[in-house]
Assembly symmetry: C2
Homo-oligomer: 338 residues x 2
Amino acid sequence: MTQPRKTPTMADVARIAGVSPMTVSRAFKRDSSVSEATRDAILQAAEGIGYVFDSTASSLRSQRTDFVAVTIPSINNANFAETLRGLSEGLKARGLQILLGYTDYDIHEEERLVEQLLRRRPEAIVVTGGKHTPRTRRLLDSAGIPVIETWDLPADPIGHVVGFSNAEAVRGMIDHFVAQGAQRIAFIGGDADRDTRGTDRREGFVAAMRAQGLDASRLIDAGAPPISMREGADAMGRLLDWLPDTQAVICVSDLSAFGALTECQRRGVAVPGDIWIAGFGDYEIAEVSVPALTTINPFPREIGARAAALILDVLDGRQAGPATVAIRPELMIRQSSK
Amino acid sequence: MTQPRKTPTMADVARIAGVSPMTVSRAFKRDSSVSEATRDAILQAAEGIGYVFDSTASSLRSQRTDFVAVTIPSINNANFAETLRGLSEGLKARGLQILLGYTDYDIHEEERLVEQLLRRRPEAIVVTGGKHTPRTRRLLDSAGIPVIETWDLPADPIGHVVGFSNAEAVRGMIDHFVAQGAQRIAFIGGDADRDTRGTDRREGFVAAMRAQGLDASRLIDAGAPPISMREGADAMGRLLDWLPDTQAVICVSDLSAFGALTECQRRGVAVPGDIWIAGFGDYEIAEVSVPALTTINPFPREIGARAAALILDVLDGRQAGPATVAIRPELMIRQSSK
DNA sequence: CTCGTTTATGTTATCGATAACACACCCTGT
DNA sequence: ACAGGGTGTGTTATCGATAACATAAACGAG
């Protein structure tokens, strides 16, 4: 925190190295044609006076910020964190830096956030989900940069898409339970329309149950997202109180599923003996818990990696029109459902 | 993705609203003295042509980016995510945006990252931990902005500090176990020196055990950070094989502690009957698991909130010299240790 | 009725890097 | 010997917003 008189600029470095500022500029982006000796002298001069490149000025002149904006519902969620990792790793090689914001599962917060992020003039923007306010959509439409919607397959995409159908994934789970002989199947999830992916999963549950000719009314509201382990446990308690003959339960995420499992353990309800439990997301807990939890793996890391690759393709002109990359979630059958 | 001819600027808005660009500029930052009518006309004109404020240009001229740089070891860790939440919420009110990077628990990666972040000219920088490469330290020293080290109490701080002593926290846990009557106590954690906080905890374990006159050699290496549930389970397996008479085990985090617990469940080792288990971090799993896990709550959210408050104090001139905010972690005694 | 003050707006120069263009020098081939 | 091309570096103008300064209009007090 030593306060030097003033932050040095390229001009200062140029003066010391005995070259023009333009040569300093070229020396700082490796690619250009500056002789080895000159570059070394420049970098040494820079290090000597503690010069740090100023991206702000560079961005204004070159009209390239090397930012990629990303919005996720919650920072504290392993699935989205994995998507972020995939993105970040894919973009790092090209020197693209992620500008992150989280929406708290609220599309109005998303609107504020998207505007704030666009002010930084990112090269591309990645949003989670396919449901947005009209103004968000307008902002994204006219931003003039690649837009990628993830974790969903929107009917009317804004631009590019890397995602999967949440409803269809849940259907696969129901088919699994039915094949195992279950008929009285419940769903634990948020009843509010806030978490759009959670809502899609619930609606997928209802549709698939009806398609099977089964009763789709065993819906337990676990509150507003993010739905915690604790809330999953509470919801399971209510389910066991009200509909004790339930044979299987699908939870909106592995976290609530694990919570539900612990509630069964506390009550002496055997899993998988008395009731089957399934989650969503293939979080680490699903693999490690005893019993291990049946779940759906949506390959969150791959979503991020594919989104990053897509961004690079578009920026390099290898991808012209809007692309849709469909991820195929995988049913992970473990002890909790057999 | 409609590609408009060119992104509109303030000058375009000014022309349409029939005012000077300066007035548009003032209208966009609420505080200034622009008449109600003029502001409305300007904002409407802006919305009409889809103008979005350009922070890049603003930052260059005003020398204020409204960025706060933050580095964390891993994005996929609930504790650091909570710190980030605390930070983000505290800074949002002032329009400060977080510029995030993660170091993967590697101080050389941290060095690259810090330089990259400083290029964006943040108003302040928050780093996790108190161990850095010499160049990182030099960069931070001469950056001319507030520097805050967190999650640690470094002996020789760079600037401000919001943290706690990892070693001391572990000592409290050992005192608890000893008071309960345990003597053969083990530690499960990374043996590599990569995760500096994990190393501090291990060293704290060794020092505190010796202070109690107990054998401090029951150290199980769980690999390189981040240490997962799975790795905690593996480590517990090795501990039970090699030192089956161990009475209590302290894990470097709740995640590995939970993994250790599941390994006991698989082997029919009773927790807390046969062995006591404790973790670190007070993750949600510690409260929900059966049995609930004894742990240490370092108040990660508060670390972020206090860091944010400190940044605002410094930027507003309310805080002159370097401050150290000591957080007092709390021992959370639950079923797994009684 | 004039002057001082407040309110609302305009003008000019500038933040720091770099795109676009220019050019001197050296090398190679015919 | 000279055209032609590559290599390394310099000059000038510019990205878009805003700090600093200037000023016109409105208003109240003496």
